[in-house]
């Protein structure tokens, strides 16, 4: 069973030759697929849109009443203006990073909690594992959005951080589950026993020896967690529980309130829908690509 | 034994079409079965024995493909049948007792229903009560109580499951039953019982049986005729007692020698080396890298199949020069790695 498993040193050692050669090698052995690269590129493009956009379009155009409302696209307003008198392009440029930010904050915290809990559960097993398992299983069956609505409704000030925290508190269960299974398999490997004989404590082993091995799984769950966090934040904002007026979700809220779709103002409702769609598409591509990365055996199947 | 054969396999060849250059998994295999005859096919894994069985039933899945040869059921060619003709023939004329007793029954269907299913597919009795008695009869014949019909497969032991599989195979009194390693994954005692059940059922239905296995002892005890497969080739075929008492092919000889003896001192001799992979099939006779008798001709050309006497075939360059297998020229080569190298060096 352990014959084919690589040894500890091989796995923990930093890859030689930097990112590019690592990429090339991954590409060759089929672990880095076009899907993964495409997803990352698309995701980076979306971030760049928010980062570089402010260079060309001033923030003031994204404020309510800055321009005449309901204008179709023209030379002055490349994507027209919305019903609240905002330049749609400017609104998109300043909304997109906000939404991505919430997703990243919530995703990173959620996966961070997941890593720690998975290590605890996988290493100490027994009652620790049982309690973590029971709580996460129960929370999994509760519709997260319902709890989030209650939380968001009571937060007097909704910021990216507070909302991110709230979402993270409900998005650690799936990563925990995924990585716990991984921890259980890693801890049975020979070099863990070697480390144990070498006198390292269980906690040291867990964090120093096992953690590096579950990082690929952490990356895979991060994509999942970011995706579900973006979904939750967009949903909350679309219900009117957003972090102010600049986020993709609140763009949806306002276009629903003003019936932009029924009025046929495609330049208003189109851009947020397309950006949200692309954001989820990039995350989907990454997570499909990650599947192969995490589990190279998938390559054998058609 | 003068009756016309129920099953004739002629020059059967099966290829895996994934990569060009792969040797055939079944190469030019010819044998026939008379009514009521029990033929055992023996071989290591990868020798093509299961592939042969699946080819006869036309159940091969891609990338495996029959590329040459004929399979005649009576006087009808199975190779030229269309899918619906094949369905009609399966179970009613050629039935399978599958490998892997554990997984060959549908886990979410009651046993009785799975027996009934096959009968119904061939327009068998339709009246509920009639079918129920028929199912009970079949179960009784394989030594199972009738209430097994109401149970699910996971409630049965491995041996019971395999008996159910035999009951299904015998349900329409087929002319031929193909038992593909029916005893794998069963313990020794249960193996004997299952083989005995198979023999019992075979006698009653007067079916011919093609028993496939890797255990020379088990197969030779059951079968009238034994065929030995190596590297996709049928290297020897003959009456069971002759195969055991005076094997002609070196491989058969080594298989027989490796049988544990019940009395006297154990003389357990394994066969050094590994069976060849399809991607690294040696030139000439596929067995030559492991064969102590091997000489130049064995490396150069594939030995033809000779029929020295009625019902006795062998494919080896020692014949027809010799009339029986001579003593080996030198002690068999001992180191495995050397053999492996030889096998690889000889690869096309």
């Amino acid at each position: 069973m352990s014959v084919a498993l690589p040894t500890a040193t091989q796995e923990v050692e930093p890859p030689e030759g930097g990112i590019l050669s690592l990429l090339r090698r991954g590409r060759r052995d089929g672990r880095v697929t076009g899907l993964l690269i495409g997803g990352v590129v698309l995701f980076v493009c979306i971030i760049l849109f928010g980062v570089l956009g402010p260079v060309f379009v001033h923030q003031s155009l994204a404020q309510v009443g800055a321009v005449d409302p309901n204008l179709p696209p023209s030379g002055a307003h490349l994507l027209g203006t919305d019903g609240q008198g905002r330049d749609v392009l400017a609104a998109m440029i300043y909304s997109t990073p906000e939404t991505v930010k919430i997703g990243l904050i919530a995703g990173a915290i959620g996966v961070g909690i997941g890593v720690v809990l998975a290590l605890l559960a996988g290493f100490f097993r027994g009652p620790v594992d049982a309690v973590i398992g029971a709580v996460s299983d129960s929370l999994l069956t509760i519709p997260g959005i319902a709890i989030l609505i209650v939380i968001a409704n009571h937060l007097t000030q909704l910021t990216a951080i507070s909302l991110g925290l709230a979402i993270a508190s409900l998005s650690w269960m799936v990563p925990t589950r995924l990585m716990r299974a991984q921890v259980l398999s890693v801890r049975e490997r020979t070099y863990i026993a070697v480390a144990r004989m070498g006198g390292e404590s269980e906690l040291e082993i867990a964090f120093r020896e096992v953690m590096p091995n579950i990082l690929p799984f952490a990356a895979a769950s991060l994509v999942w967690a970011v995706s579900s966090a973006v979904l939750a934040s967009v949903g909350l904002a679309a219900l009117g529980l957003g972090t102010g007026d600049v986020s993709l979700g609140s763009a949806v809220y306002w276009m629903m309130t003003y019936s932009a779709v029924l009025r046929g103002e495609w330049w208003w409702f189109g851009p947020p829908m397309i950006i949200i769609g692309l954001l989820f598409l990039s995350l989907l591509m990454m997570s499909l690509g990650m599947d192969r990365f995490v589990n190279p055996r998938l390559n054998d199947r058609g | 034994m003068a009756e016309a054969p129920v099953l004739r396999v002629q020059n059967l060849r099966v290829n895996y079409t994934t990569r060009p250059g792969l040797a055939p998994a079944v190469n030019d295999v010819t044998f026939s079965l008379r009514p009521g005859e029990r033929l055992g096919l023996i071989g290591e894994s990868g020798s093509g024995k299961t592939t042969t069985a699946m080819a006869i039933m036309r159940l091969l899945r891609p990338p495996a493909r029959i590329t040459a040869g004929r399979v005649l059921l009576g006087d009808r060619d199975v190779m030229s049948m269309n899918q619906s003709q094949l369905r009609r023939v399966r179970l009613s004329e050629v039935a399978l007792v599958p490998q892997g007793a554990m997984n060959s029954l549908n886990p979410v269907m009651r046993v009785g229903e799975q027996i009934r299913d096959g009968i119904a597919a061939h327009g068998g009795q339709r009246e509920a009560a009639q079918i129920r008695t028929r199912v009970a009869q079949l179960l009784e014949r394989v030594g199972l109580p009738p209430d097994v019909a109401r149970q699910y497969p996971h409630q049965l032991s491995g041996g019971m499951k395999q008996r159910v599989a035999i009951a299904i195979a015998a349900s329409l009194q087929p002319k031929v039953i193909i038992a593909d390693e029916p005893t794998s994954a069963l313990d020794v005692v249960v193996q004997r019982q299952v083989i005995a059940t198979l023999a019992e059922v075979q006698k009653q239905a007067r079916s011919a049986v093609l028993l496939i296995g890797h255990d020379m002892g088990l197969v030779a005890q059951f079968a009238h005729t034994v065929g030995v497969l190596y590297g996709g080739r049928l290297v020897e075929l003959g009456p069971a007692e002759q195969i055991v008492s005076s094997p002609r092919h070196p491989y058969t000889r080594m298989l027989v020698d490796s049988l544990p003896e019940l009395e006297g001192k154990q003389r357990l001799v394994g066969i050094p080396g590994l069976p060849p992979a399809l991607s690294a099939m040696p030139t000439g006779c596929p067995f030559h890298p492991r064969c102590p008798w091997a000489f130049d001709a064995c490396r150069a050309s594939m030995p033809p199949t000779l029929e020295a006497e009625e019902g006795r075939q062998v494919a080896c360059h020692l014949y027809p020069k010799h009339s029986s297998l001579p003593e080996p020229p030198a002690p068999p080569p001992a180191q495995e790695p050397a053999d492996r190298d030889a096998a690889e060096a000889g690869h096309v």
Binding site: A134, V135, S138, L139, L140, T141, I142, P143, I145, A146, I147, I149, V150, I151, N153, H154, L155, T156, S227, V234, G235, A238, L239, G240, M256, V261, L262, R263, G264, F269, M273, I276, G277, F280, L283, L284, R301 | L59, Q83, R87, L91, A95, L96, P98, G100, M102, N103, S104, L105, N106, P107, V108, M109, D117, G118, A121, H122, Y152, H154, I168
Partner: protein, 332 residues
């Protein structure tokens, strides 16, 4: 079997207990006095409804017994829940939250139940077809298509459908559940009108839900088709249809059923916004209105009902599952 049921009931109670307690604690753990803040805000927004505010404030005081210790408040909270008393609605005072939910929940059940069922059936059939080695190219292309649709929020699909079918083509209504000119009665034309209005919201949910089930089913089916019992079934001379449905699908479908239960949560979250997008008068829309009106009681009530319903559904599925899957039934 009995221990299984007992354990499952235990889990149900734990889930409901945790969720309801969280619902009680969250408002009290967050600093500040949100209820007072809300009331003040309420007064500011709807200055002309002074009567409601006063009455609601009284109801609030009585309800929360804010002067009493937290554990007494907690007991009172459970007492109310056992009496199915969810308090009064602020936005529609003096209507109770209970009656608000009763008036809306059947729309949600109908829409959601129908959509989930249809999506499950289509998704499983599609997934099974995708696993078939000789599936036509059209079907193969549908896999990625539904996967992408499944990854984006369902309300986006809804908005796109409204734009296409209501704004541009004008062949289907883009919102509501009944035409304002329609005389509501239990007759054919009313039912037809409701169905007519439900096509687009149902389509949005169905399109969004198919993907995940198709993907899951495809994976299951591929592994099932490689099983020995499929080969044996073919060796029995059964028709391909019989093999596919009774030996393949039936085995692949069972794990999918557990997936169905787990996916319910996602479906409910998605349905809330789909209802909002379509002004569909279900609990999702009620929730949306309550949020924009800062109607604290209604929000709480809807959330509690959602959680309880979902937990109960999961419980029922888990209890029924052994009757469908014989392997589980006897292992207990």
């Amino acid at each position: 079997m009995r221990t299984y049921v007992v354990r499952r009931i235990g889990l149900l109670i734990v889930i409901v207990f945790i969720a309801f307690t969280a619902n009680f604690l969250i408002p009290r753990l967050i600093p500040g006095d949100p209820i007072q803040a809300e009331l003040a805000q309420q007064a500011a927004i709807t200055g002309n409804q002074g009567v409601n505010i006063a009455a609601a404030a009284k109801a609030l005081d009585a309800k929360f017994q804010l002067d009493k210790p937290v554990w007494q408040q907690y007991l009172a909270y459970w007492d109310d829940l056992f009496h199915l008393d969810l308090g009064y609605s602020i936005q529609n005072y003096p209507e109770t939250v209970g009656s608000e939910i009763r008036a809306t929940i059947f729309w949600t059940f109908g829409l959601l139940g129908f959509s989930i069922l249809v999506a499950f059936v289509i998704g499983c059939l599609l997934g099974a077809a995708l696993a078939w080695p000789t599936a036509p190219r059209v079907i193969r292309a549908l896999g990625p298509f539904f996967m992408v649709l499944g990854s984006i929020p369902q309300f986006l699909i809804g908005l796109a459908l409204i734009f296409a079918f209501a704004t541009i083509l004008r062949i289907l209504p883009g919102g509501g559940v009944i035409e304002s000119t329609q005389v509501v009665a239990f007759n054919f034309s009313t039912i037809f009108d409701i169905l007519h209005h439900s096509i687009l919201p149902a389509a949005a949910l169905i399109l969004g839900l198919i993907g995940s089930w198709a993907v899951g089913m495809r994976g299951m089916m591929i592994s099932v088709l490689g099983e020995d019992y499929i080969l044996f079934a073919e060796a029995k001379g059964l028709s391909p249809g019989r093999v596919f449905l009774w030996y393949g699908m039936r085995n692949a479908l069972l794990p999918q059923l557990t997936g169905l239960a787990v996916a319910l949560g996602t479906a409910v979250s998605g349905a809330i916004l789909v209802e909002v997008v379509f002004n569909y008068p279900g609990v999702g829309f009620l929730l949306f209105q309550a949020i924009s009106q800062k109607d604290y009681f209604t929000i709480q009530g809807v959330v509690l009902v959602l959680i309880a319903t979902l937990a109960l559904t999961l419980f029922i599925v888990d209890i029924l599952y052994p009757f469908i899957d014989p392997r589980v039934r006897y292992e207990q």
